[in-house]
C-alpha cells in the first residue's frame, strides 16, 4: 500500500471520482494547468481536459455561484477556494444560496456542491492565510462540514462527500498537507460522513479534536501518557452531522472532556461541543470542560505558535482536567 500525504490522497480521490462519474467537474483559481497552488488538482487538467477542469477568473462568489448553477443543471462540481480566508466573498452564495436551495425549492433543486478549501494556521501565513472559519458553516443549516486529519480519511471522506446529495464544506488542514503521511489504498473506498474515530483509547479524560489539531493533541498525549495519564482521543472527522453518540459515550466513560480547536475560542465549534456535553452528559462530569483554542483576536504572524493551541497548552489542560 502506498504511503501518501494528504495532497496526494485528495488528488487521488478527485481522479477516481472524475473517472467514475462524468458529472464531476473541478473549478477554481489556478486549479487547471498549474494544478492548484498546493498541487491538489495536479494532472487533472491533462487527463480530463478543459471541459472538466476550469481555471476561473479570480472571484470566489463567481466560482461558488457558477458551481451552484452547474449543480442545479445536474453536474457535480467540486470547486476549490484557494484559502479558506478568501471564502468570504462567496459567503452569501454559500449561506443564502447553496445551503438553502434544496429547502426553498422543496427538494426540486438540490445543489450538491463540494467546496474544497485549505484552512488553518501554523504555516507563517498571517491573517489571511491561516484562518479556521468552520463555525460559520456549521451554523448554517443545509451544509455538511468535513475536516480530515490524515491521508486515509481525506481520500475516503472526499469520495463520500462527492457521492452524496448534499452540499459539503470540505476543509483541508494545510499545515499537515504534506507532513501527515500514511498508508492509503490505491483503489476505491469511502469513509462515511458523520462518524468520528477514536484515535487512542483511554480511561481518564476525553480529548475532542479535528483536522490539524489531532496531531497537536497526539503530541500532547504522548507527553502526558509518559507521566501516567490515560487520555482518550476522538477525531471528529465530520463536524456536521456530528457523531454525538461517540462523543457522548466517550465522555460518559471518562467523566472529563478537553476540547482543542485552533479557531477563535468564543462561539467556536468547541462551544457547541461543550454545550452538547452539558445538555446530555452533565451528571457524568467530574471536572469542568476545558477548551483549548485560538485567541479571540485576528490570526497573528510572528506569534502564531503562541496563538494556536500548542502541545504544551493541550497537555496542561489534560493534566488540569484529569487531576481536578
Amino acid at each position: 500500500m502506498p504511503v501518501w500525504n494528504i495532497i496526494q490522497a485528495v488528488n487521488d480521490a478527485l481522479r477516481i471520482e472524475m473517472r467514475r462519474d462524468p458529472r464531476v467537474v473541478v473549478l477554481g483559481e489556478d486549479v487547471g494547468k498549474f494544478g492548484g497552488v498546493f498541487r491538489a488538482t495536479n494532472g487533472l487538467f491533462d487527463e480530463f481536459g478543459p471541459d472538466r477542469v476550469f481555471d476561473t477568473p479570480l472571484a470566489e462568489a463567481g466560482i461558488i455561484g457558477a458551481a451552484i448553477g452547474m449543480a442545479l443543471y445536474g453536474l457535480k462540481p467540486v470547486p476549490e477556494i484557494q484559502f479558506a480566508d478568501f471564502i468570504y466573498p462567496a459567503f452569501d452564495q454559500i449561506v443564502n444560496e447553496l445551503a438553502k436551495f434544496r429547502y426553498r425549492s422543496g427538494g426540486q433543486y438540490p445543489a450538491p456542491v463540494v467546496i474544497r478549501t485549505p484552512y488553518g494556521g501554523g504555516i507563517r501565513g498571517g491573517h489571511y492565510h491561516s484562518q479556521s472559519p468552520e463555525a460559520y458553516f456549521v451554523h448554517t443549516p443545509g451544509l455538511k462540514v468535513v475536516i480530515p486529519s490524515n491521508p486515509y480519511d481525506a481520500k475516503g471522506l472526499l469520495l463520500s462527500a462527492i457521492r452524496g446529495e448534499d452540499p459539503v464544506i470540505f476543509m483541508e488542514p494545510k499545515r499537515i498537507y504534506r507532513a501527515a503521511k500514511g498508508e492509503v489504498p490505491e483503489g476505491d473506498y469511502t469513509v462515511p460522513l458523520g462518524q468520528a474515530k477514536i484515535v487512542r483509547e483511554g480511561s481518564q479524560v476525553t480529548v475532542l479534536c479535528y483536522g490539524a489539531m489531532v496531531h497537536t493533541v497526539v503530541e500532547a498525549v504522548e507527553k502526558v501518557a509518559a507521566e501516567g495519564f490515560d487520555p482518550e482521543i476522538v477525531d471528529l472527522r465530520t463536524l456536521l452531522p456530528l457523531d454525538s453518540e461517540t462523543v457522548l459515550a466517550s465522555v460518559r466513560k471518562t467523566g472529563r472532556a478537553v476540547i482543542a480547536y485552533e479557531a477563535p475560542k468564543t462561539c467556536g465549534y468547541g462551544a457547541e461541543l461543550s454545550a452538547l456535553i452539558c445538555e446530555k452528559a452533565l451528571m457524568h462530569l467530574e471536572a469542568p470542560i476545558a477548551r483549548v483554542a485560538g485567541f479571540d483576536t485576528p490570526f497573528p504572524y510572528s506569534l502564531e505558535n503562541e496563538y494556536m493551541p500548542s502541545p504544551d497548552r493541550v497537555a496542561k489542560a489534560i493534566r488540569d482536567t484529569a487531576s481536578f
Partner: protein
C-alpha cells in the same frame, strides 16, 4: 411600436397571430393577477405581494423568445414568465398562500415560486445572487452539449451588486449560452437608477465584459420579443451571452410593504402609466385585426375567473404538515433534526405565520 400601438410592419418579428395573442394573454394574466392579489394582501389574506404592473411586456415578451428546453432564473417580478411557460397558476397561488400544495411547503415569502417541470428556478430574495447560477447552468448546458439557453433576469438595482459583475465577467470569459434580461424599471425601492450607476445605460456595461448589450423599449412586447429572440438564437448557436436592458417603469410600489409617494414625483409615474404596455399591445393587435373589443373583454373575464377560482381553491388548503419543518434541509432528515422536531411534537400547535400574522 409607438405609444399608440403603431409598428413598422417590416420590423415586426415573424410570429403567428396565435403566438401574439398568447403573449398578450400572458400579459393580461399578470395584470389581472396583480389586481386580485394586491386586494387579497390589503385584506390581510396573504402576507406579501410584489406587482409587475407596467412591466408585462418585458416579462412575457422575453419569456416568449425561449424554446421549451430553455430555463428561467428569475428575479422578483417574473412569475408571469413562469406562468407563460407552464408553471401552473394553482401552484403559484399555493406558493403565495404557503399552503400544503406549495411544492416548497410554504417555506418562502410569497412571489417565490418554482418548479423543475416548468424550468423556472426557485429564487431567493437576495439581489443578483441568481445571476452566477444562470451562468453556471448555461455553462453546464454547454459542457453537456445540450441545446438549451438560460435566461437570467435582474432589475436595475441588481447592477450594483458584486454578483452582477461576477456573473457577467464569467459569462464573457466562458461564453456559455446565457442571456441576461435587466428590467430597468428605474427604481430599487426608493432609490432611482441614477443613484445605482453613473453609466448612461445598463446595456453599455456589457461592452466592458466583451459581449453585446442592447437597450430596448421594455413597454413594447414586439421589441422585447425581437431583441431577446435574437440574443437567444445567438446564444444557442454558440455566439455567447447578451445583456438586454428592457427600459420600463415601476408604476406601482416595490411591494405591498412600500409607499412610493413618500420618495418620488408621481406625476412622472403618470406619464409612464400612459405608455401602458397592455394598452399598446391591445391597440397593435386591434390594428392587425387579431383582437376586437369583445374578444378582449372575454379574455379578461376568463382570466379573472381563472385567478378567482385558483384563489378560492387554494385559500382553504391547510398549512404544510409539521414534518416539512425539517425536511429538504438535507437529502435525508438527519437524526439531530428529527430529535429537534420531536421536542415540539407533543406541544400545542402555534398560530401560522405569513398571512395570518
Amino acid at each position: 411600436m409607438d405609444d399608440h400601438g403603431v409598428a413598422d410592419p417590416d420590423r415586426v418579428p415573424s410570429l403567428t397571430p396565435e403566438d401574439w395573442l398568447r403573449i398578450y394573454r400572458g400579459m393580461v394574466l399578470i395584470r389581472v393577477m396583480d389586481e386580485r392579489l394586491m386586494a387579497l394582501q390589503r385584506q390581510g389574506r396573504i402576507g406579501f405581494y410584489g406587482e409587475a404592473r407596467g412591466q408585462e411586456a418585458a416579462v412575457v415578451g422575453s419569456a416568449a423568445a425561449l424554446a421549451p428546453q430553455d430555463w428561467i432564473v428569475p428575479a422578483l417580478r417574473e412569475a408571469g414568465a413562469g406562468l407563460y411557460r407552464g408553471l401552473p397558476l394553482r401552484t403559484y397561488i399555493a406558493q403565495i398562500f404557503g399552503n400544503a400544495n406549495d411544492p416548497a411547503s410554504g417555506r418562502q415569502l410569497p412571489c417565490h415560486p418554482g418548479t423543475r417541470a416548468s424550468h423556472y428556478v426557485t429564487m431567493s430574495s437576495c439581489i443578483a445572487s441568481q445571476l452566477p447560477h444562470a451562468v453556471g447552468m448555461a455553462w453546464a448546458a454547454k459542457i453537456k452539449k445540450d441545446n438549451s439557453v438560460v435566461l437570467g433576469y435582474l432589475g436595475d438595482g441588481a447592477t450594483s451588486e458584486e454578483d452582477f459583475h461576477v456573473a457577467l465577467n464569467f459569462a464573457g470569459v466562458f461564453r456559455p449560452p446565457v442571456v441576461f434580461v435587466c428590467q430597468n424599471n428605474q427604481w430599487a425601492i426608493s432609490v432611482p437608477v441614477a443613484h445605482q450607476t453613473a453609466s448612461p445605460t445598463v446595456a453599455i456595461k456589457a461592452l466592458a465584459y466583451g459581449f453585446p448589450g442592447i437597450r430596448v423599449d421594455g413597454n413594447d412586447a414586439l421589441a422585447v420579443y425581437g431583441a431577446v429572440k435574437e440574443a437567444v438564437d445567438r446564444a444557442r448557436s454558440g455566439g455567447g451571452p447578451t445583456l438586454i436592458e428592457a427600459l420600463t417603469y415601476r408604476v406601482s410600489a416595490h411591494s405591498s410593504s412600500d409607499d412610493p409617494s413618500r420618495y418620488r414625483d408621481e406625476r412622472i409615474t403618470e406619464t409612464w402609466r400612459a405608455r401602458d404596455p397592455i394598452v399598446r399591445m391591445r391597440a397593435w393587435l386591434a390594428f392587425q385585426g387579431f383582437l376586437d373589443a369583445a374578444g378582449d373583454e372575454r379574455l379578461r373575464a376568463d382570466l379573472d375567473a381563472e385567478v378567482r377560482d385558483a384563489v378560492a381553491a387554494e385559500e382553504s388548503v391547510p398549512a404544510p404538515p409539521l414534518r416539512t419543518l425539517v425536511e429538504d434541509v438535507f437529502a435525508e432528515v438527519p437524526q439531530f433534526l428529527a430529535d429537534q422536531l420531536a421536542e415540539i411534537a407533543t406541544l400545542p400547535r402555534q398560530k401560522l405565520g405569513g398571512a395570518h400574522q
